[in-house]
Amino acid sequence: MSALIQNILIKVGQKKDRLLDILLSVQEAESFVSDENIKIIAGSLQLSEIDVRQCMSFYHFFSTKPSRHRIFLNDSVMANLMGGQKVKEAFEKVLNCKQGEINADGIGFYTTACIGMSDQEPAAMIDGVIFPSLTPERVRFVVEGINQGKSLSDLYYLPLGDGRNGGAALNTMVNSNIRKTGLLLDDYYKSGSALTIAIEKSELEVIGIVKTSGLRGRGGAGFPTGMKWEFCRSSEGAEKYIICNADEGEPGTFKDRVILTEKIEMLLEGMTIAAYAIGAREGIIYLRHEYQYMRQHIENALAVARTKKMLGNNILGKDGFDFDIRIQFGAGAYVCGEESSLIESMEGKRGEPRFKPPFPVQKGYHNKPTSVNNVETFCKVCRIIERGGEWYRRYGTKQSVGTKLLSISGDCPRPGVYEIEWGMTLYQMLEMVGATNTQAIQVGGPSGSLIGKTGFDRKICYSDISTGGSMMIFDQSRDLIKDVVLNFLEFFIDESCGSCLSCRACTQQIRNKLEKMIHGKGVSTDIEDLKKWAKFTLVSRCGLGQSAANPISTSIANFPHLYQAMVQKEKDYDTCFDLASAVADSCKVVNRVPNF
């Protein structure tokens, strides 16, 4: 066994459930995971080689080929809207290689799904460092600098970002872009104030306050937080876990990035309060790989919390209240934002969703009761414990209580994070961000809905349009079908874990049909087919599969004229079959001239 792997195994533990960390560490050291190392890892964890390979192949960011540098350019809708195509071409030109290849200098160039920078696209990650607001000129500057052997931080073309982004731990060009603050983002929160109050109360009282507040999960699904904790607390088993879902994979969302940057102490405190309430001793932040630039920043915050006795044994002097938090990195998979996939991934496996029940609160991480909550949810808990459940109910509407952080991007002069009270209409939101000439808003990311003008008086709340926070604005100049819907479908095809046929195959059929229509070969029955096939995806096991056809179904419902415009009037059936191109290959092989 090589010294490298030996050290890694000592550091993270020689256990199957740490496979992801082991692979990530090897890759960090050597830029890839070699065949030989796969064999060694498999042997030392008593896994088969194929177990290791199938895990690696599930995630975007593992490589089996060596490279000196790796560039991942975002190809999300927002990146493309802001000129991503030109940036991609610039990369391909200066690197002299295509996307997916490693060039002669050993620089790998890849595209990837949304990296959580929709307010400063086009953005790329180079060896984990974020390069936001790229232009072809900046691409040339950066690649030339890399070729000259300069360090990445010497190639910054923008001043360091606002807020804590400019600090030594983060040292990044990323901006937080906080545009509107509320009870979470306001400055008057004092670290430790909520936890001090919490530990003076009983565990059940803490859960009671959260229940009174009416807080619901802020990841998107909106499950009542107090109830989740209560279930987890009352589930059998002495060992319990708190997991913070910081996978933030929904394209267009970036509010958790901002919370992790600016309010990390609040997050850790919220997790600690949750641990107190349910009786957990271990907490894990599942952080998406794209946010690895925050590692030092979060580690620092954890270290400070430990010195302040807000983590560790006998927290704040409370006898027997022991709790600590570690970071678990993902390796690039959207579906891992789904809580059971996230847990699978944390156990070192492919992040495929589990069948439910049992729910994670019953059997989660290591089959122990586990509460998985969103970053924003934990922070809200701090404020609620500090000020009380009744106080929190004063914000928002009767059914949708409190505030929500929105990640607003696209065609508007002030993209960024806005903390609003639930109940705001989309019109009001557009006015707030200064958007004009708006054609459509994608609410809730690709898995949400594409809403047109007739829906702009709808309210942002659980009972009307619920959202995890992603809001993408498109003005009249955008081609919604080609630039938005098609991109979303490609996204779901890439991210499908492949377990359910409905999600694996149906999305491809839908994409093919849509492409056919875009190419001018549409007939009216195609629209009916799309509607029918979209329903089929609803039988999938997890939320990703069930919402994979939402881009199609919501755009057909809200923009029927765009689909009608792609229908040929004179034909009722068109298969697009072209005999000449279908026989071209075989004629070439047998060396004959096609004759028809």
């Binding site: 279908a582 026989v583 075989s586």
Partner: protein, 182 residues
């Protein structure tokens, strides 16, 4: 009134669906009372001379001749039925889909374990031969198909019931076990 005309064809199939058609046994006598069977391997009539009411297609399309044949059927038949797995999904012939055509030809004509006589190592390429398609296509990816009768082969009763339903305008009953096989 003349009886409706029915045509059948076996494209990239195994003739199993036609065998199943013959499995309607003595009802074939009743069938010829109901319809005239025109262009079909059963009658060996090779050309369309008038408009047909129904065309029954067995097999998908693996070469240019299949395509021409199918397009002829579409032109000359009011209703087209895909009969059986191969016509509907490509079936066994479609197992070559996803393998590059050159590999398929190499295996069939040059390197396969049963290839002994092709000493000159040539691929058949006479102009008279149909040209292979890049993959095997189900019938509805070439022309519009009106009805699909599943099965490998579809059972004789299903074929009989479907034809009778079509001719009498009655609704066809499709019990679960007829469309579900696993």
């Amino acid at each position: 009134m003349s009886k409706p005309l029915v045509a059948t064809a076996s494209l990239a199939g195994c003739f199993g669906c036609h065998m199943s058609l013959l499995d309607i046994d003595e009802r074939i006598l009743k069938l010829v009372e109901l319809v005239d069977i025109g262009k079909s391997p059963v009658t060996d009539i090779k050309t369309f001379t008038q408009q047909y009411a129904v065309g029954i297609i067995e097999g998908g399309c693996c070469n240019s001749e299949n395509v021409h044949n199918l397009q002829e059927f579409r032109k000359n038949c009011d209703i087209l039925i895909s009969l059986g797995e191969c016509a509907i999904m490509g079936g066994l012939p479609a197992m070559r889909n996803g393998i590059p055509i050159e590999e398929c030809l190499n295996e069939a004509y040059l390197e396969g374990p049963t290839v002994h006589l092709n000493t000159e190592k040539i691929f058949p390429n006479d102009d008279e031969l149909p040209m292979l398609l890049d993959r095997v296509y189900p019938a509805h990816e070439i022309v519009k198909i009106d009805y699909f009768l599943p099965g490998c082969p579809p059972r004789a009763d299903l074929i009989w019931d479907a034809l009778v339903a079509l001719l009498t305008g009655k609704e066809l009953e499709l019990p679960y076990e007829v469309v579900k096989y696993d």
